[in-house]
């Protein structure tokens, strides 16, 4: 179990840097496209599509890591004044809700991807791409997210009620 936990940590450590790298590449790519266009060179016509798909990819890849370090936006009005045992109970509820919601998205995401694959539909933009490819990114990323929810659920269930910390977040890797 511990080795699985460590493996998952290593996966998240990789996903921690991917969004930033994608954003940097997109920034360079967009600038190249602007310069090229203004000098009548049309070699980067596909950049717009690359940026759009890049935004989808970076969001889905990075969501689980951001959850693991507690950086997703939450409204903690009630939680602040709760006792540790009450915080623990609430954390179990919140993690269970998050796991259920992300699990449903993973399941129907897989169905939608299979459906798109079966239809063999193509997205005709500057880059021709099979519809199932961007669709597969969502269940892929949400699977990592659901696993992180599961891990946090297990942690909050196992945590002794009186010692439950307000934050169960992992230290930031970078």
């Amino acid at each position: 179990m511990k080795s699985l936990d460590a493996l998952f940590d290593r996966i998240l450590a990789v996903t921690a840097v991917i969004p930033g790298v994608i954003i940097a590449l997109l920034a360079v790519g967009i600038c190249a496209e602007v310069f090229a266009r203004n000098f009548d060179f049309t070699g980067f016509y596909w950049m717009l599509d690359a940026v759009e798909y890049g935004l989808l990819l970076l969001t889905m890849v990075g969501a689980a890591y951001v959850l693991s370090i507690g950086r997703h936006v939450t409204v903690d009005i009630f939680v602040g004044g709760f006792s540790p045992p009450a915080k623990r109970r609430l954390a179990i509820l919140v993690n269970a809700i998050s796991l259920t919601a992300s699990g449903i998205i993973v399941y129907y995401g897989i169905l939608a991807t299979i459906q798109a694959y079966g239809e063999d539909s193509t997205l005709y933009k500057s880059i021709e791409i099979k519809e199932w490819v961007p669709m597969a990114v969502v269940p892929g990323g949400m699977t990592l997210f659901a696993l992180e929810c599961l891990r946090q659920l297990v942690r909050s269930v196992r945590s002794p009620p009186e010692a439950f910390a307000a934050s169960q977040d992992r230290p930031e890797v970078f």
């Binding site: 921690a16 969004p19 967009i30 600038c31 602007v34 936006v73 939450t74 809700i97 995401g109 169905l111």
Partner: protein
């Protein structure tokens, strides 16, 4: 189901989940799943939800949010932002509330270089708060101006929140970016005037102290070297839009590249700085985009359930004057701002507010700037404005939340005054975009 029950059910589900501490994005996804099962016919709707996640994120117009954040993070992590604040510090000589004015002027300068109010507050809090405390500044005069400049950062381009508002509402992004400049300058002038007036009437708020003797050239040189060239980045971002060289999305990328070039010119560029800026940008961007991923389905369900149409027909029936309707909308944003972050507020309110604004035929760019300002005020309103917690993070340990609430209150009132002024004098917002459109 009657439209008002549908409205209460959907918005209520999101709010209840949020207040129980569920991450905002998951609160929206959860409400979407329940909404889809209730209004969109189960499995087919859930498959559509998946397609909407893809459609919601595959949007070129969202790219500047990441690029403006990257621009600010590069400035921050390569250290050139700190040098710029230091240069402003040297420029301002012996005036009442000197360091508070450094916060206002430095914050305004950094607003032209960064699209993030959180970056502004963190930067100014880190650099100026220790010195203010050492000089015996009253807490209200130390923290208030720093928190107040958050609003300036969101109005003066580049502004990541303005881009997000434009891409979610369909209002011209270039229009909102340009239109925010004059209100931002008005706000800076009002804050400046307030600080000088208060510190003149009550010098104990900001005790005067002797500055090291410096020649005129020693004062002005750091500004010419470390601030003036950086302002060319503002020119790159805004000028490339106005000159038709680049779209708002592309101009944001040019700004990020410009920040790297500026850091290189100042010999501040390091792999560590760039790497940290990239990774931090990634975290913030994922946080924002993940919430947006749920937005398309939420507004579709609101529309399909009849909630949007029902509310609009009620507005038609009541037929309020545009002023009252506008006041109600701004009041609601300010109220929600006490408890929620700007992105969540936008996602909940825009599906209703935009049709209402179109119904009463008001200028959408003006409307967009008003929303932006109200959202920004919301970030500093007690008890849970996000910038208040950023300040808590960078302030000395003896500062309590109550001190921060007391410090920010005059600035919140000033900003509400500016909001009312912009409602009464729309030309302050619309003049510049109209001038640009004529050219």
């Amino acid at each position: 189901m009657e439209w008002y029950w549908a409205l209460l059910f959907l918005v209520g589900t999101v709010m209840v989940l949020m207040f129980f501490g569920v991450p905002v994005a998951i609160a929206f996804f959860g409400a979407n799943i329940i909404g889809v099962l209730t209004f969109l016919g189960g499995e087919a709707g859930l498959i559509q939800l998946e397609r909407n996640v893809v459609d919601g994120l595959v949007r070129f117009a969202l790219a500047p949010v990441a690029m403006f954040i990257l621009m600010g993070e590069i400035m921050f992590h390569t250290g050139i932002a700190f040098r710029a604040i230091d240069a402003v510090d040297k420029l301002i000589s012996k005036v009442p509330g000197r360091l508070s004015l450094v916060a206002v002027v430095g914050g305004t300068v950094f607003s032209t270089l960064s699209g993030s109010s959180m970056a502004n507050t963190a930067l100014l809090g880190t650099t100026l708060m220790p010195e203010m405390q050492r000089r015996g500044y009253h807490r209200s005069m130390a923290m208030g101006p720093i928190l107040g400049t958050g609003g300036i950062a969101m109005l003066i381009p580049p502004s990541s929140l303005a881009v997000l508002l434009g891409s979610l509402s369909g209002i011209s992004i270039a229009g909102i970016l340009i239109a925010g400049a004059i209100p931002g300058i008005i706000m800076a002038v009002v804050h400046f005037t307030y600080v000088v007036t208060r510190c003149t009437l009550n010098p104990a708020l900001a005790p005067a102290y002797d500055l090291p003797a410096m020649t005129w050239w020693e004062r002005i040189r750091p500004f010419l070297v470390y601030v003036l060239p950086l302002l060319s980045l503002f020119g790159v971002v805004v000028g490339s839009i106005l000159g038709g060289i680049a779209t708002p999305t592309e101009s944001a990328s040019l700004g990020a590249l410009g920040a790297v070039v500026a850091a290189a010119c100042y010999r501040s560029l390091s792999w560590k700085g760039i790497w940290t800026a990239m990774v931090e940008t990634g975290k913030i961007t994922v946080m924002v985009y993940f919430i947006i991923a749920a937005s398309l389905t939420f507004s579709q369900i609101l529309s399909f359930s009849g909630a949007t149409a029902g509310l609009l027909s009620l507005v038609r029936e009541v037929d309020p004057t545009p002023f009252y309707l506008l006041a109600a909308m701004m009041g609601l944003i300010l109220l929600m701002g006490c408890f929620m972050d700007p992105v969540s507020i936008m996602l909940i309110t825009l599906p209703f507010f935009m049709p209402m604004a179109e119904l009463i035929r008001i200028d959408l760019i003006w409307f967009g700037v008003l929303i932006l300002l109200a959202l920004e005020i919301g970030q500093t309103t007690p008890p849970f404005g996000m910038l208040l917690f950023v300040m808590r993070g960078v302030a000395p340990p003896n500062v309590t939340m109550r001190h921060i609430y007391a410090a920010v209150t005059p600035f919140v009132l000033l900003e509400i005054g500016i909001l009312v002024f912009l409602v009464l004098v729309p030309e302050a917002v619309t003049w510049l975009p109209e001038l640009m459109a004529k050219k």
